[in-house]
Symmetry: C2
Subunit: 444 residues, 2 copies
């Protein structure tokens, strides 16, 4: 085996053997294969593709580049959720305590914001004191004590993925379904889960703009997970408008807490309940036969709604914050979260009904305020963000506020203002309601 | 302009603008663009291609990455020949003195052997003392004094090409017509010529295996040269069998001298005369109108044959050797060249006519003896090589010698023997003679 041979094979559209993939990932991890060979192969993969077998082998090699956490001693199957990223998507902050409050073991390793989509770690770090860098021992101890831990990828987990991701970022090789799939799934498999619920976002604010590509990604991820022995369930959900009403890091913490208090926006609550119910379903062994599926699903959803209503999920969030060094009083006093000094409203240019709040544009504008990062080293401003005052279907008069923007820097706001304005469309009639969930692809 | 944007554009099969290409080559030259971005772009170019305009802009940027020698003070147009490389192709050693003896100015910058094709520099360095590393001042002084200089690429000439070539070699991106074309032409344009004759080899011993790809390469090279204001002429010639009867560095020096003495093999002499005549034709301004072309060509060929017969071309070689520090007595005493200690014969397995002497296999076998290099750092053994005893169409009895192999290392010879044997085919009838020249593509 030899790096040039491997590059040549993929260049010529041949499938790589597991041995070739192992050799390559081992070389990337040890540094024996120089970056300039790695990026040539990444571009060949981007342009020639990889089949399901290659993608599974790539994922497996990336898992083996580091530690795979052993969580097999838990009674139920440890379960996580992964979202491919959207604007206003704060479901992890809601789901993790919700599923854990229902008894699930939720080892959640998350990422940071990149581009216009938010990152769970950045949101959590808006909470004063919250530590996302736990050791693997602390991670396990949290799971044993409170059933949940929300952390960043540790250095021991899938180190090959970090190297590959950094190189993909600077060589226009991010948007490759096999590379995305292996990157996501290697980290998830390595964190020790036995089941995974995927939320594959589809639309202007998502990485996948159309349903066929979202479906391909979902199927690729599900296939890899099954190949690794995980129980898998994927929901393909719309991301044409922001999820919920708040975008920006401390804004989204507030909305997550509100949702756990039972006062969240309907779309966010419903999706959180659905995903948490699917997590419970996957994590509990001896599930009912297919014939009983819909009754069984209704029962899981009812359990999750009970955890919301009873306050036990909110209490679980408090425990998580406390355990990870954060100030749990934020649950009751949002003023403890970072606050931006300035506010401005984006107003309706005409009377009518809000027909569009483009997620991609709102994500970009909010990133421009400082909520996200264009490159991995950019600092985040946790305080900035926007709140949707008039949602899709709401009636507005000319001059009514549609968005309320919180900002720190006037020049940045001026650059973002036009992007916010362009995100809004107002028509003569309310658009028909659409279901957030497009499709589910699952094990049962 | 930004490197990732450029990579993304080519990844998506967009043509690059001259500004993008300039930015990239300037960054490669200065080191501002890291190798891992360069190789991602090279793979994208390998898989997506470049049109004629992009290839010309790439060549131009590579020329401007270093010095372009100014030879405009010479009375005639400085002219060079470039061969895309074949087995036994020693025409440069013959042509350069031949054309210079006819009054042409021949500034010839050549390369080294890589793979199974020979390199002019390695052949010249088989001559004791011969220096191929001249400064640009020495280069110019040689041209002024004797009309010819045979040197390697200096550090000042097309430095971007050296970086790109080294990276292409380790990333399976060598075999791209635009990249090959820009690499060849940037060095040739930078050496200060105003006219170039190309010998594009086609067949098992060449880089281009079939006529359509040889034609594409020839047209790409001619197009770039014209775009840069050069007079261009290309010959597409067969490389299914070795050119001449000798393969290996000192072997080829001997055969070149024999040819300049008028005792060379017919195919080699004819091709050398043809290429030298085309060089003269391009280098002399005010050439006749197209109607007189064939008479004019016959006249140029006659002048070249005169230079061979009169001994003036041989005398010119002696001057070149002397001027570049070599021992000119080799012209009369081949024993001064490196001699291999062992000889062996590869014999006819049956009686009949030699129908095939596969150039690719003979090249590989001779490389395996030490005549060539698999990687750029391999040492060369100038003494080893092989001589064709029975050429294509010759009648042999079973056990007659077909090849005479000179080697230094018995183990290497044992590995090469089977490859030599497999190169030979013997049939019941002599094959029909084929013309070496397949096609000419020229300015006039």
């Amino acid at each position: 085996v030899d790096a040039v041979e491997i590059i040549r094979a993929k260049r010529d559209a041949a499938p790589l053997t597991p041995e070739q993939i192992d050799y390559f990932i081992a070389g990337v991890t040890s540094g024996a294969i120089p970056d300039y060979q790695t990026t040539a192969l990444l571009m060949a993969i981007r342009l020639r593709g990889m089949d399901a077998r290659e993608t599974a082998a790539l994922t497996d090699a990336m898992v083996r580049s580091g530690v795979r956490v052993d969580l097999s001693s838990f009674r139920s199957i440890p379960v996580d959720k992964h979202s491919t990223g959207g604007v206003g998507d704060k479901t992890s902050l809601i789901l993790a305590p919700l599923a854990a409050a229902c008894g699930a073991i939720v080892p959640m390793m998350s990422g940071r914001a990149l581009g216009h989509t938010g990152g769970t770690l950045d949101k959590l770090e808006a909470i004063p004191g919250f530590r996302t860098r736990l050791t693997l021992d602390e991670f396990r101890a949290s799971l044993e004590t409170i059933g949940c831990a929300l952390i960043g990828q540790t250095d021991e987990v899938a180190p090959a993925d970090r190297t590959l991701y950094a190189l993909r970022d600077v060589t226009a090789t991010i948007d490759s379904i096999p590379l995305i799939s292996a990157s996501i799934m290697s980290k998830k498999i390595a964190e020790g889960i036995g089941a995974l619920v995927l939320d594959v976002k589809c639309g202007s604010g998502a990485f996948m703009k159309d349903e066929p590509s979202a479906r391909r990604l979902a199927e690729s991820l599900v296939g890899i997970g099954r190949h690794a022995g995980l129980r898998m369930h994927a929901c393909i959900t719309r991301m044409d408008a922001p999820l919920g009403r708040m975008v920006g890091n401390s804004h989204e913490v507030v909305e997550s807490i509100e949702t756990l208090k039972g006062s969240g926006p309907r779309d966010l609550e419903d999706l959180s309940v659905l995903l948490a119910a699917r997590m419970l379903e996957l994590s509990e062994a001896g599930a009912p036969a297919r014939a009983d599926q819909s009754a069984s699903r209704a029962a899981y959803e009812a359990r999750v709604r009970d955890a919301l209503r009873s306050g036990s999920a909110l209490e679980k969030l408090r425990q998580i914050i406390e355990r990870q060094g954060g100030d749990p009083r934020v649950v009751d006093d949002y003023a403890l979260l970072p606050q931006a000094p300035h506010r401005a409203e984006i107003r309706a240019a005409r009377a009518g009904y809000v027909t569009r709040l483009d997620a991609g544009s709102i994500g970009e504008a909010t990133m421009a305020l400082g909520a996200g990062r264009a490159t991995a080293d950019d600092p985040i401003d946790p305080a900035v963000g926007c709140r949707i005052v008039a949602g899709i279907g709401d009636r507005v008069r000319e001059g009514d506020p549609v968005l309320e923007v919180s900002y720190s820097d006037a020049a940045r706001f001026e650059r973002a203002r036009g992007v916010y304005e362009a995100a809004i469309a107002i028509g003569d009639a309310a658009p028909p309601p659409v279901s957030l969930v497009i499709e589910e692809i699952g094990d049962r």
